[in-house]
Assembly symmetry: C2
Amino acid sequence: MEINVLAKNDAIARDNRAWLRRRDVLALNLMSSPGSGKTTLLERTLSQLPGPVAVIEGDQETSLDASRIRRTGAPVVQVNTGAGCHLDASLVASALSSLAPPPGSVVFVENVGNLVCPAMFDLGERRKVVVISVTEGTDKPLKYPYMFAAADLVIVNKIDLLPYVDFDVDLCAKHARSVNPDLTVLPLSATTGAGLDAWYAWIAAQ
Amino acid sequence: MEINVLAKNDAIARDNRAWLRRRDVLALNLMSSPGSGKTTLLERTLSQLPGPVAVIEGDQETSLDASRIRRTGAPVVQVNTGAGCHLDASLVASALSSLAPPPGSVVFVENVGNLVCPAMFDLGERRKVVVISVTEGTDKPLKYPYMFAAADLVIVNKIDLLPYVDFDVDLCAKHARSVNPDLTVLPLSATTGAGLDAWYAWIAAQ
């Protein structure tokens, strides 16, 4: 059953990937625990990119995050999963069709806050970005390795809180690379803006 | 399929509940996002309770948390779920059998860090405890309502970080009670010890 669900999802994800490539749209899938700062990072990022942007917001309930994104002026579609614990390729296909992003766009997909299940579901995105915050503990890449194995980039957010918590950025990056040697790790603070230039440069390079 | 999985789980959970009642053992199911401080809270709590205690540790991978708990002297069983995103009643039944807690024990079940999926799976526990931390944002009960609807107690952890983050404890409690009017909400800091007496009193009352 599980294998069938994943196979069906992967087929739709391939269609999404082809659709995005035809239109020259870069899609990035942002995943994290609840409260790691994905929405705050997007609020900062959307105004700083040169080309057109759009956002697909995934949450179990509410359109709170879509409202925050809308205030930046970016087009946004909220997807509510109800009891569901992750976005899937079919939900993203519908949202992309409704957003109709123009060529050269960057589409950010903010997944449901969950460091486990979203790792299994390809959405057709170009890159998977995992956000963790320094309040979550240095050992997270070891305890949730599937997410870090699937990722292309790890953002270590909330570095402005480093003086107040017990967190070792270098050791966390080492743990993450022990799971996935190809990972890029970017420490930053979406609140203060520290480190964001490297994030914008990473997006530009994709 | 999903309904069958849940029905089978619920049947085993009923057996667990009867087993625990026969032995006069109090089981508490602790759930949260990754990094909300469940293990730190347990490290503090285990030495403070008058009777025998034991811990079932759920993680995708590693026995890091079990090692932390073992250093307190409490009996502990680590359950690794691999790609799985939550503990279920069957995993807990095996762990209980291996722990064999004496009458009058408190058994803490630390679920996989995930604010979504564990809400659906009854383990046979007496009470469900949700831990959120002040770094995760005031809106979490609205965005992840299934977890808060299932809970008996919400612990708002890391109140020592309140001066450095944008978090409103009263509003978060109001959001949680809008989902579940019967909730008890306890703000505390597992790091500094602030508020822990109310937590110990809550355990004693169960």
